[in-house]
């Protein structure tokens, strides 16, 4: 029980100590990333302000995803966190969603050509119609929760590894 309270305290204290702003321009990111913080749930929403186009989907998807994950992971690192979970409704690591790396999301992006309705390609394919995946209405909206410690049995993003992996792709 003591262990639970210790972890709980670390997580709770950490959640209230975020820096208010961060300057991503110095990191040469091509598009503005907005950060919105829902304090009640400790959920940060990162909005990548560019639209995925059908004609250049794969290239754009990989680039935008790298930039978004880089912003998410550097923001967490600067605030002393080691892990984060994506908590968009249909891709929620905290309820078992198994992908936890940039490479995994890139591979996930490659699923598009094998979809049965590819001729009806819609950049909202992973979410569409306002559904809660990481691509909403053609742009990336990634909801994350930061953690100091891993939760065993769940697949979370390691912040150091994500910074390294995405930096190579920028």
């Amino acid at each position: 029980m003591k262990t639970i309270y210790s972890i709980l305290m670390i997580l709770t204290l950490a959640s209230s100590s975020f820096a208010d702003t961060i300057d991503f321009k110095s990191d040469k990111l091509t598009n503005v990333i907005e950060i919105d913080f829902e304090k009640d749930d400790n959920i940060f929403t990162f909005i990548y302000d560019a639209w995925l186009k059908k004609s250049a989907y794969e290239k754009q998807y990989n680039q935008y995803m790298a930039e978004t994950l880089y912003a998410v992971s550097t923001y967490g690192k600067q605030n002393g966190y080691s892990y984060f979970a994506i908590v968009n409704e249909k891709m929620n690591n905290l309820v078992g969603y198994p992908i936890n790396s940039y490479q995994g999301l890139v591979q996930y992006g490659r699923l598009v050509p094998i979809m049965k309705n590819r001729e009806d390609f819609n950049p909202d394919i992973f979410g569409g119609n306002g559904e809660e995946t990481i691509i909403v209405n053609g742009r990336i909206e990634m909801k994350v929760i930061y953690l100091k410690e891993p939760i065993e049995g769940l697949f979370l993003y390691n912040i150091d590894e994500t910074v390294t992996d995405t930096k190579k792709a920028l």
Binding site: T3, I4, I7, L8, L11, T12, S15, D41, N42, A85, V87, E89, K90, M91, N92, L94, V95, G96, Y97, P98, I99, N100, S101, G104, Q107, Y108, R110, L111, I114, M115, K116, N117, I125, F126, G127, G128, E131, T133, I145, L147, E149, P150, I151, E152, G153, L154, F155, L156, N158, E161
Partner: protein, 155 residues
């Protein structure tokens, strides 16, 4: 003959690539450091998520000691694969309400027909535990059988 047909069908399937297998690990480790591997779960991603949610709800309601009571058989067999420390850390996560608000299992928004996952518990040389998974997403008509998916995941 059966084996030959299975091999040929696997070759045919891989040539047509109507599926993807995405591998993930809970932490970095090299294959040389693995001493044992136990499959904790194999089945649809939706049922896996439902089982995880069921376990988390039970931890929230019954605590980390009695959480196994009343779990469905699928969730129970998955839960038994978690270490005590793992269950405690899940309990701590629930404590700050990060999961409570998101307990509805996701329904995959893919157009693809089949999403299966195999979750493995890995014991490393230093005695620590890691988890890995292989996510299968396929789109084939008629659909892959469970046996075919298992073979593709583990080949």
């Amino acid at each position: 003959m059966k084996k030959l047909l299975l091999t040929l069908s696997l070759l045919f399937m891989s040539a047509h690539a109507d599926y993807e297998i995405i591998k993930s690990k809970s932490k970095s480790f090299s294959d040389e450091n693995v001493t044992s591997m136990e499959i904790m779960y194999f089945g649809s991603l939706e049922n896996y998520s439902k089982s995880v949610v069921e376990i988390q709800k039970n931890i929230a309601e019954k605590g980390t000691e009695g959480f196994l009571n009343g779990l469905s058989s699928g969730a129970e067999s998955l839960a038994k694969g978690f270490t005590k420390a793992g269950v405690q850390s899940m309990g701590a996560g629930l404590g700050i309400g990060i999961v409570i608000g998101a307990l509805d299992p996701f329904i995959m928004g893919f157009y693809a027909d089949q999403t299966f996952v195999q979750v493995e518990k890995i014991t490393l040389k230093d005695g620590s535990i890691a988890y890995s998974n292989r996510l299968f997403v396929g789109n084939k008509h008629p659909s892959y059988s469970d046996e075919e998916i298992k073979n593709l995941i583990n080949k």
